[in-house]
Amino acid sequence: MARPNRAAVIKDEAKKSILLLPAVLLLLCFFIIPIVLTVYYSFTNLALSGANAKNVEFIGFENYKRMLTDPSTMTSIKNTLLFLVGSLLGQSILGFLIAYFMKGKPKGLRSVVGPCILAGWVMPEIVVALCCMAFFKDNGTMNMILGAVHIPAVSWLFKHPMMTVVIANVWHGTAFSMLNFQSALDNVSGDIEEAARVDGANRFQTLIRIIVPCIKDTIATNTMLNTLSTLGVFGLIYAMTGGGPGSSTTTLPIFMYNQGLKGLQLGYGTAIGMLILIVGAVCSVIYTRILKDQ
């Protein structure tokens, strides 16, 4: 091949850019402009109704000041972290265990268990919420099962609301972790495991000392992706508990919705949105650091 001259390179680059243009436009329209607008609105008193809806003013850091002095912000952050940690632990551990125990099992079993887990994942969030409500409500499946073995019914959605929404989210999200871990486990060479076993390691030791270190990259990536999707969960919680009772399941997205849309204070709501963005960014940076160190 002859060495390309300058003009040809430019032409080539231009061609590539044209092909990229639709993607760039899409990003600009649906991602970058909204983010810039969100940042701007969080510094205004924008409201959905009332006098402020007519006279939008720039009010500096007022929204942020209010947010940081509002005790509900702290409660929401606490709830978000609880929801996040609970969901992450549940999804990762369960996903990993299912993937681990399914490895090398007969195809028949895999083709039954796999779709069962996937069913929770392919369902839209709102359907998951309705299913779980039907399961956990006062006269729901869970209490019927308990009743059959003579355990008194529990008002799950009201006595243990956070646990209930975490379980719902774990049911919804486990399949994603399972798929990740399945493909990672398939890549762990059987030779290493066998070598370990020959050296006298039992199954548990092999798991902790050999397999987990082999798939730690997947664990980190999986955790990061799950974190970002869990931070944004709104419909599931809103449909199941509406953020209540009281504020016991009010996570940041619900708090944002209540203030911004229900309370009609869009400016304040967007400021809370920025807080969610910051929490997500911080988590991403931490995980990327961990990944890099490895």
Binding site: C29, A51, A53, P245
Partner: protein, 465 residues
Amino acid sequence: MKMKKVMGLSLAVVMAAGLAACGGGSDKEASTGGNEKKEADSGKKTITFCFRDDGQGEDGALWKWIQNGYDTWDKKDTVELNIAPIVAQEGDYFTKVALQLADKKTCPDLVCEDTFQLPNDVSAGYLTKLDDYVKDYEDWNTSYYESMKKGVTGADGSVYGIPYCTDTRGLWYNRDILAQAGVISEGQDWEPKNWNDILDACKAVKEKCPDVVPFWCNSGVATGEATSMQTYEMLLYGTGERLLSDDDKWIVKSQGILDSLNFLQDIYTNGYGPDLSLVLNGQASNTSAREYLPEGKLAISLDGSWITGNWTDTGAAPWPEAKDVLGFASMPTSEGQDPKTITLAGGWALSIPENADAKDETFEFIKHLMDPEVYTDAVIAQGNIATRQDVAGDETYSAQPFKQIATEFLESADFRPQNDKYSTVTTSIQTMVESVVSGTSPEDAMTQYATDVARAVGDDNVTEK
């Protein structure tokens, strides 16, 4: 290589087409509220009507009123009607309406406004001044109650809606259950003198009729304004306090607030209230009115006069025996102090948004809807109190069970503050009430309320008492 080029090109085309489709789609969606397209098709104007549907669809009293009104309208050949309900919980309705009103493309021509939301939407510039319209509307000056007109008048003295219903609140009680519990004797009316009388009645019911829920009041965020008005404000106003001080500042800490919250705490910690799972969801008002009361599973319900609409032949839960089984007692003040009893009146109005396209036609339609021939049946079906004196005098109307007593309550009724911040403050009230019934101490709940309200209205606009 060629293959790659072709694929790249077709991918680009698909993406561009997708982009175009996105834009086209949203345009089309947006224009369902507007009229331009339909006008071009048929040369007719369209009135888009927006109201809250709580899930009954075409069987709902409001839907029937509008449909029936349109069918009997002499201009129906020249104007089209597009019924566009918002199916939502009450709190979400106001959000969705505000979003629709703000944009010309999605704005309806006729919207149902709760009179508490009206001042807020007026100051946002969302609603049309109706002064010029009502000037030539004869009935406006002769038939409507003055107090109802006040509820739809903005701070600038202009009229922004035509009130189509009002209501009062009180204690619905099951005579059989209260008699069985020994609170009243057979055939006697229950007349609680203070809050303690109510608690005592609840205690008696709990002891004598353990399967019955003694007391029900809207207590959650999900029931929206019903929680603020039917429950909290009925209590607060009964302590003699108001939401706003005389110099128009929001009272965020006071003995009255604490007393009201303590009453609610007493109800729930003593087990007089329903299970939280029943009362803290958006359907709670319907559950009590359509299931628990008719099934005899509820003794006392603090609720609005309109719940009778559920029990008519065409209602959601027909219950002809209601007029014999139930009584409607007025809510006493906290310690029986003057004025002895308390009630709040609210109501809804038909408004024309500023961004509406067919304003003149819409006002003509409102006039027809409010014509006694169309309106009387509708207000009976809704279970509401009429806003027109001539309709209030109608025989069928006044023969409706409980209509007389509910209308009597109206004479001494209090109203919610005509303040454009009320619709924001009310969400903080709902949060406060829900947190108390689910276990937070009244003191802590009030502190949080003070913070919330100060944030919403500004530190200069709150005060303590």
